[in-house]
């Protein structure tokens, strides 16, 4: 199989697998007093330090969670207080479903959030919590987070950044971004699923935890932690620094060129994008039919936001970009850390063939 759906999840990195397997045999609970507890705690704190350092936060400000979704939900829960919530129109459901009653920050046709609009929105002086992702999961378009952070701080607003897709694929540094919090997921980095983190800036106004439990994570996230998953998470985060991003970008471009030559439109093209992601619209052909056709060619790609039923819904991201019907006709191709030349060759070879066949019933009916 040619796996080109890294933004959904990707292969476990060997270093992460080794770290998980080694830590699985450590029996202690990090909260315990005895030496077994200390052994577990050491693994956990080593992981915390490694991840915090990699993404520009202090270890004490890293809250381990079950994943990116929980990290986003926790950020909103803990920092919303009486603040007005503003989220960008292209946030992931992890944010959207925790953001009832939020105001929406509009998105430009290139897929990037409008900083001026944010400035205007915050101009009324109402205390606000803003959510803006660092890179979009569907288009890969990198958002103007540094600018947004400066605007938020000027207006006294709080900024939470979902960096789930950006982490490992571009430099991510909470301190340099100037945001108040950052959500990271382990499996998107090539670590095990089931682990994630919320990184907080020293001045983040963290209120109450979602799950208080036994007061773990300095009272910010209760529950006995899956130490082995966090060990794998850290190994993936550190190992990912060595990925050959330039090579991945060149292959992504090759895939993109082949699709465009066959009639595809690249959604979010002129904007700065993640090196591994492309969103290819094929006018007139339903996205779900494209995903199925590629699956039958043993090529794994995805479209929009798949419901747990497997149903592909029209993309709210592409709709927010004003793409009209194309919002339901685009697939996402995202290259994993272990992508091979053969994977790209297979896609380049298949795309024109698949596109022509999917278009033929339309042509037949129009004739």
């Amino acid at each position: 199989m040619h796996y080109l759906d890294a933004n959904a999840t990707q292969a476990l990195r060997p270093a992460a697998r080794d770290a998980v397997l080694a830590a699985l045999d450590v029996i202690g609970n990090p909260s315990s007093v005895h030496q077994a507890g200390r052994a577990a705690r050491r693994i956990m704190e080593d992981a915390r330090e490694a991840i915090a350092r990699r993404f520009g936060a202090r270890p004490a400000d890293l809250v381990f969670t079950s994943g990116g979704t929980e990290a986003d939900a926790l950020a909103i829960h803990a920092m919303r207080a009486n603040r007005r919530l503003i989220i960008s129109a292209i946030e992931h459901d992890a944010v959207r479903s925790s953001a009832a009653g939020a105001a929406v920050l509009p998105i430009g046709a290139d897929g990037a959030a409008d900083s001026d609009a944010l400035d205007t929105l915050l101009g009324d002086g109402v205390a606000s919590l803003v959510c803006l992702m660092l890179a979009n999961n569907e288009t890969g378009v990198i958002q103007p987070v540094q600018q947004a952070a400066a605007i938020c701080r000027r207006h006294g607003a709080i900024l939470h950044v979902d960096a789930v897709q950006a982490a490992g694929r571009m430099p991510v540094d909470l301190a340099a971004l100037g945001a108040h919090s950052l959500a990271i997921s382990s499996h998107k980095l090539g670590g095990p699923a089931g682990a994630g983190a919320l990184l907080l800036a020293p001045d983040a106004p963290f209120g109450a935890a979602l799950i208080a439990g036994g007061g773990q994570e300095r009272g910010r996230r209760g529950g006995t932690p899956p130490v082995a998953l966090f060990a794998g998470f850290a190994a993936a985060a550190v190992g990912g620094a060595d990925d050959d991003v330039g090579r991945i970008a060149a292959w992504r471009d090759a895939a993109e060129r082949a699709a465009v030559a066959a009639g595809a439109v690249v959604c979010g093209d002129p904007a700065r994008r993640l090196p591994n992601t492309t969103c290819l619209g094929l006018p007139g052909v339903r996205a779900d039919a494209q995903v199925i056709a590629f699956d039958l060619e043993n090529i794994a790609v995805s479209a929009g936001a798949a419901c747990s039923s497997g149903k592909v819904a029209t993309s709210h991201v592409l709709r927010a970009m004003g793409l009209g019907p194309l919002a339901g006709q685009a697939i996402r191709v995202s290259l994993p850390w272990n992508v091979t030349r053969a994977n790209i060759d297979a896609f380049v070879e298949a795309y024109p063939r698949v596109a022509a066949r999917l278009r033929s019933p339309l042509a037949t009916r129009a004739a």
Partner: protein, 361 residues
């Protein structure tokens, strides 16, 4: 060969997938999500996908075949549900399953099957496809009790060429369930689906009222000669041939009354005695599964569970009319399907005529 199987999550289409897989074909299961199950069941927080989609996926997993869920909600709402309500508001009695087959199931799925390079589209319908000298023919199922040919008359000839109906030859439902058992499918004893899929409660007027409140506004019940004999609470609740919900008008001059027509323009329900039937039936949206002759004798079926009635079908200048040997009470909106023996020759939707006694006073 590569075959797309329309899998509903029921035992019938599951067995179709199983049999084709067993025969060595490359089977691609596809389940259409037709409506938001959570919203239809009225349970807050229920998943948009119902148990049927879950069952279809589990069957595909058991068989080891590919399976995909296609979002057809918008299309189904427009082409089937809205049309269903409009039809009632227009004084007709629609058959949503025919509309669905015509638009979503055989229309869109045929396109998908071709787009995926499949040679056939298979469904769990109880009908037989027989290859005749002039191409694929549609025939009644071996099991007369289960026969669904009436619902498939609107399948085009091009669609029929693509279709496979492996259950058409099955002896009865027990035989189908036995195959499911043998294949180890968890749905082997799942109960048959009932009624209209998007009206799980069975109360179709709720849906009609949501789309077309005018269909549930009160009006008069009149006799064929225009005498007002009672009142009703919406023509959307009446169908031609119905004897219930007539209140005081149920018996007129000692004779049991039935709905013989509706007049949506004046929101009237017209009643008459049982023998006040008609012999001439005008049709619209006629589909032919053979070369149409000018006129020919055959038997016709006016409802899903009706007897076969001898008739003469006349086609002249794009207009098709059926002349029954004996009068009947055909309901506009239902299908009139032409049979020669077991073969379906074609059919059409029963059109409204100027209601007797209301249009010509």
């Amino acid at each position: 060969m590569r075959v797309v199987v329309a899998m509903s999550g029921g035992v019938d289409s599951s067995v179709v997938a199983g049999l084709l897989h067993e025969a060595g074909h490359e089977v691609i299961g596809v389940t259409l999500q037709l409506y938001d199950h959570g919203a239809a069941s009225g349970r807050k927080g229920a998943c948009c996908a119902g148990q049927d989609i879950h069952d279809a996926r589990r069957v595909a997993d058991t068989l080891g075949i590919a399976h995909y869920v296609i979002d057809a909600e918008e299309r189904f709402a427009r082409a089937v549900i809205a049309d269903f309500a409009d039809s009632y508001a227009g004084g007709e009695t629609p058959v949503p399953c025919i509309r669905c087959n015509q638009t979503v199931k055989f229309g869109d799925l045929s396109d998908l099957a071709r787009g995926l390079g499949a040679e056939r589209l298979a469904t769990g319908h109880y009908v037989r496809r027989i290859d005749g000298p002039a191409g694929a023919e549609l025939h009644r199922a071996a099991d007369a009790l289960r026969d669904q040919s009436w619902f498939l008359f609107a399948t085009t000839r091009a669609q029929l060429e693509l279709c496979l109906f492996p259950l058409g030859a099955m002896q009865d439902k027990r035989a189908v369930r036995d195959v499911a058992q043998r294949l180890g499918l968890a749905v082997a004893e799942k109960p048959d689906s009932q009624d209209i899929c998007f009206v799980p409660s069975g109360d179709y007027t709720g849906i009609v009222g949501r789309f077309r409140p005018d269909a549930l506004e009160p009006g008069e019940i009149v006799t064929a000669d225009g005498r007002v004999v009672g009142g009703h609470d919406g023509i959307g609740r009446y169908t031609v041939g119905q004897g219930k919900r007539l209140g005081d008008a149920a018996v007129v001059a000692g004779q049991r009354q039935y709905v013989v027509a509706t007049d949506p323009g004046r929101r009237r329900v017209v009643i008459g005695p049982r023998d006040a039937g008609t012999r001439a039936i005008p049709l619209r949206d006629v589909n032919w599964l053979t070369e149409a002759g000018d006129s020919f004798r055959c038997t016709v079926k006016l409802r899903a569970h009706d007897q076969l009635r001898p008739a003469l079908v006349r086609t002249a200048r794009e207009e098709t009319t059926v002349e029954l040997d004996e009068p009947a009470l055909p309901a506009p909106g239902q299908a009139c399907v032409f049979y020669l023996g077991d073969r379906v020759l074609g059919g059409g939707i029963i059109a409204r005529t100027a209601p007797a006694g209301t249009g010509r006073t």
